[in-house]
Symmetry: C2
Subunit: 252 residues, 2 copies
Amino acid sequence: MENHHVPPGSPLDRGHPHVACSSCSLRELCLPAGIDARDMERVDSLVNHRRKLRRGEHLYRAGAPLVSLYAIRSGTMKSCVLHEDGREQVAGFHMMGDLLGLDAIGGGRHMCDTVALEDCEVCEIPFSGLEQLSRELPPLQHQLHRIMSREIVRDYGVMLLLGSMKAEERLAAFLLNLSQRFATRGYSASEFNLRMTREEIGSYLGLKLETISRVLSRFQQDGVIEVHHKHLRISDAERLRAILGQAPTSDG
Amino acid sequence: MENHHVPPGSPLDRGHPHVACSSCSLRELCLPAGIDARDMERVDSLVNHRRKLRRGEHLYRAGAPLVSLYAIRSGTMKSCVLHEDGREQVAGFHMMGDLLGLDAIGGGRHMCDTVALEDCEVCEIPFSGLEQLSRELPPLQHQLHRIMSREIVRDYGVMLLLGSMKAEERLAAFLLNLSQRFATRGYSASEFNLRMTREEIGSYLGLKLETISRVLSRFQQDGVIEVHHKHLRISDAERLRAILGQAPTSDG
DNA sequence: CGATGGCCTTGATATAGGTCAAACGGAAGC
DNA sequence: GCTTCCGTTTGACCTATATCAAGGCCATCG
């Protein structure tokens, strides 16, 4: 009923009791990207523990001390920043290959809550061991830096979205971003399930759930997408890009 | 051309005591925080070039290849993300001690424009040299990680602001943040000059310049602040904090 | 000195999106 | 199979902020 587009060899393809980075299909997306076979053993021995989370379970909460970073093997999660008065802002949605916990390095404590949106499996990466190993393996060091930098760039993109786009543009940007991330991971770019509620999408995009619902309906009426509850199909990616204001892609 | 393992204060120290990290008053805020005296020499020799910018000059533009990171010695800068259609979003304001260019590590190219809001001086830190040295100096490595992580956390705060706060809350948050950063640098927390225009503040906060102007006027009428053009004095920081912490209509 | 131009302020009006309300649909449980 | 509940859709109305417009202030420059 879920995850029906499982590529062969993906971590969702269970049956490997002891899965190492070296044999993980996500390795080129994830922390060990660019590590050669010999050094990969050392990464394997660093990432020696995995953890399963049920839907709704927290991976960590704001205030918890930093112990490990986490790489998602399977499932989808969200990170939320909290305001004292209870308001919460979804700061990001994460999927397989993403590295979580970067917010905690600065102060030694996590600064947001990270919650599973569906059953998930994550690899635990003890942070002090990671710093140590990355001193010895320059490609690992560089990849860690790249991942942190890309998170900063992603955040800038969200600021652009929240600060200067209208509702339709925000949603178009969101759908295209999801699409692209699924494609990068070997899934369909044009058809996927939304793992989050309208309310969570709204929080991420700085809009109310009713607005998300209305804009999705409008897109559907215009023939740009087809939505049925959580299932979404992008019928006209070009038009979505036009809504966003992007130049059409030359290569498709 | 200078600072080649020259101990600060030695006769070879060219008579610019403030030139080297080791004798820079910002060192505990900046990249070399936590580096001990002996290792500091190596940082000094890495950071061997400085650059002055006039008001309005670009430090780098989106698309430029990553060469160096930059630490601000003096002055204020802004970073802007650009949308093809010309819209621009201010993603951050930077002041002395801040480290710039982190956005470029992920893709090897800068992803935003960074511009001097007033005459500035920056220290250039060649990135490849920094990665190399940080492999040898764990405290340097750790500080780099902390700085990147804190930038991510700052970005999450901006998302919270843009995604779920009203105009008055955003401006209160902005003023308190500026105040705190001035205080950290040894300046008055309650009285300072705004180096940016109303329009730039508006861009950062996802509001129009007229709204910034109106809210500032309202704050002034309420006796929370006094503004005269660029000069700002916080008369009642407590009330500002209260504005920031207000829950939206929960009761009725 | 007076003119110029960039910023800022303030008012009047418009509107995108929020809020409130009602009803619907699948999924899970009885 | 029926009920309940959560998430969603849709409609009607409201409000915070944008937009448009006019004028003011200060620094700069001729």
